[in-house]
């Protein structure tokens, strides 16, 4: 369809992408929509966050054109919140992917992320419900090895460790300390007393939130389990022995970062630079000739890895180890110039998932006009700042 050989940067079709996201969420009679029913809430998070990244900046610069923002809205806030609350599953005290489905950590994180995105965590979550969610999450942690199951049925995956830590951290920041002061939590474990040692004095909020998290789950054991999933190449898999995968690395690095335990990745000896560099170097090796990133060695590049790999590199402060201009060009080449949206590779069908991860990747590279995204929480920096998350990792 297009000549991909042109190496000059294309423009980002912001407006068309907004249209694409809107159409994809409004046209409910497509096979794509029907096949993704079980993860509707996550789909919503992708679409709404992508939308925010595209318009937030613009709207803040041109205050007069608030009207335009309304026009560009994907869904009204009211509809969004109504839908999320319909997804809440009383039985598990978790959010489900769609109304009437079973609750799961994956969608619980999506729900909380959307609350943060709309700056309405306290408005949408009663203290009672927030505590119930915290208790539910604590029950999903294995006392034996610190791993997290996605739901009561016990599937273990480092993805769920990330979901648990990220959700708890966002709740701890977003609900405010008062919510967690009394003994309303059926805490399974009261945090260790060595907090001071690990505390980041520069970031009071973070250590406060971490203190709250320690009341709910065993943070150290949770991190220990993540480290058990580390591999010969420095990467991480879904369970101990599982092959390294960029998506899995994102969740493991993110979880460690949220728990302020990124140090676990490094040997104490500064002289061991090869050892200390191995994870970031493996990630840098994900970039292939055409500029895109793959998720594992000898695989094809794919726009969604622009996010998984680049955010991990950002957390490790090694974004400059790959060619960012080439990556930008690759993502922009994956745009559908006519009807909007971004696909996995140039000239493939676009979808909301890749549209979000493409825009998120561009945002991490500070693409002009885009709101900056936080590489750990996968939310606009402006949104996480509103609940007191100030990070130094971009």
């Amino acid at each position: 369809m297009t000549s991909s050989s042109v190496s000059s940067l294309r423009l980002l079709h912001s407006h068309k992408h907004v249209e694409f996201i809107k159409n994809s969420s409004l046209d409910t009679e497509t096979i794509e929509y029907a096949l993704t029913e079980h993860l509707r809430l996550s789909g919503m998070y992708w679409g709404l966050t992508a939308h925010k990244l595209l318009v937030m900046n613009k709207n803040n610069q041109e205050d007069k054109e608030v009207k335009e923002e309304e026009e560009e809205e994907i869904m009204s806030k009211e509809d969004v919140m109504k839908f999320i609350n319909e997804c809440y599953d009383e039985k598990s005290s978790l959010f489900a992917g769609a109304p009437g489905h079973d609750g799961h950590l994956l969608y619980t994180l999506s729900a909380i992320q959307i609350f943060v995105l709309y700056e309405c965590v306290q408005e949408q979550l009663s203290e009672e419900r927030a505590k119930k969610i915290c208790t539910a999450i604590s029950k999903l942690q294995s006392k034996e090895d610190g791993s997290f199951a996605g739901d009561e049925w016990g599937e273990v995956d480092t993805r769920f460790s990330y979901c648990a830590f990220s959700a708890l951290s966002l709740l701890a920041h977003g609900m405010g300390e008062e919510c967690f002061l009394d003994d309303g939590l059926e805490a399974l474990k009261i945090g260790g007393s060595d907090d001071e040692k690990k505390e980041d004095n520069q970031d009071k909020n973070r250590s406060k939130a971490l203190g709250i998290m320690r009341k709910i789950v065993d943070v150290d054991k949770g991190c220990e389990f993540i480290m058990k999933c580390r591999n010969f190449d420095g990467g991480f898999g879904s369970t101990p022995g599982g092959e390294s995968h960029a998506g899995q690395i994102f969740v493991c690095v993110g979880a460690l970062q949220i728990c302020n335990q990124l140090d676990l990745l490094y040997t104490a000896d500064d002289d061991e630079e090869e050892e200390n560099d191995k994870l970031a170097w493996w990630l840098a090796e994900r970039q292939v000739k055409v500029g895109g990133l793959n998720g594992r060695p000898e695989k094809l590049p794919d726009v969604c890895y622009s996010w998984w790999v680049l955010s991990s590199l950002a957390a490790l402060k090694k974004k400059h180890w790959i060619d960012l201009d080439k990556l930008k060009a690759f993502i922009l080449r994956c745009q559908d110039d006519i009807s909007g949206g971004i696909s996995d590779r140039p000239d493939d069908e676009p979808d909301v998932y890749h549209t979000f991860f493409g825009i998120a990747g561009l945002s991490l590279m500070k693409h002009e006009g885009l709101e900056e995204i936080d590489p750990i929480y996968a939310l606009p920096v402006r949104s996480v700042r509103k609940i007191g998350i100030e990070s130094d990792w971009y």
Binding site: H38, G100, E273, W321, D323
Partner: protein, 426 residues
Amino acid sequence: MHGRKRESTASRLERRAKSLPKVKLLQKLHKEIVHLQNADDNEKGKDGGGGDDDDDDHDTKTQKKMESLMLTLTQKLVEIQPEMITCWNKRKARFCLYVVVRQQKNEEEEEERLKNVAKEELHVSEQGLRRNPKSYCAWEHRRWVIARLYDRILSSSSSSSSERGNEDSSLLPFMKDVVLREREMLETLLNADDRNFHAWNYRRFVVDKITRYYFNGEHDRMNEEEVADDVIENRTREEEAKYAREKISKNFSNYSAWHHRSVHFEQLDDDKNQASVTTETSSSSSPTRFQAVLDAEFELVSQAFFTEPEDQSAWMYHRWLLSQLDAYSSSSSSSSKNAYKIQTFQRELDRITEVSEMEPTCKWPALVCARLHKLLAKEMKLDDDFERRADVILKHSIKAKELYEKLLLLDPLRKGYYRDVLDRML
């Protein structure tokens, strides 16, 4: 959507129209399953604790009808979309009813039913995998069913009275068949896609289950012979390393197999081995066993990169072997270990220099040589006659720097990395 070619608006509309019946079917299925869920919840709400054994005939009938409706609907849906987790959950809840040990009832009949239900679940999961061999939920369902069966076997063998034991439990031969079948299925799937990490993960699970089964003292049942635990563990590790090797020789670019081999790599500590030699007077290990293992591994990996120098799988593995070697003597340094280390670094340097002469535009041999020069310089600095070797150390450092500078040109995508390395070398 991964890997689907972009369409024109016209063909999108056409496809949309064509898929409408399927969309309607999916919508209907979703609705019915959610409805089922609600009905289920209401039912449970009514009779709090669940009735006695002599429940109404009517109730049992409706229950049976509900169950079979649930099974049909969920199967239909997961055969189209195996990631539909709530369907699997419902099936798991039903499976649980059959897997609990109820000793007062007829054990034989109970086991027959359990076996049938297990077969049913494995079949539906297989259908899901046929649709999408990378479905997290379908794989997890499999793992979950097998794990529950093992739990059941282990719990009934430990809890039943010694006179009966589980001598005549038909679950043991059944499990053996199941596991053998799982291996066959895995083989088919791995032959179709040797990088499917779900399949590899599942293989490790199946193998681990078998190993743990042995540990629980049930080995006679699987193999009709008594073997010590550590022997079994070693054997499993060897088998898996061998399996990985077979996969590697079929395709050097199979990173998943290299990974699998690293997982089952024999982590031998020469010092510990020596200690065990003196205490147990076993003759199987000698102080250089680790060295022999490592040498063989370097040999294997060199075959791979000589054949496919542009493929990163083998180079990644090689890098790890070097780090294993580097860590080898760090715990307790001995002159023989150090000598072996330097000698191996040097041998690899010669070997890979050869590759780089054959493939002057390939970045990998240049990168590995650069690292080896750096390692050699570092190693020699720690050596006693550091003074005498100062010029050799300098030579290695200069060579390393030259190569990293060359890499800036050979591999411009990762310039930033090479610059950082060079900066630190100043």
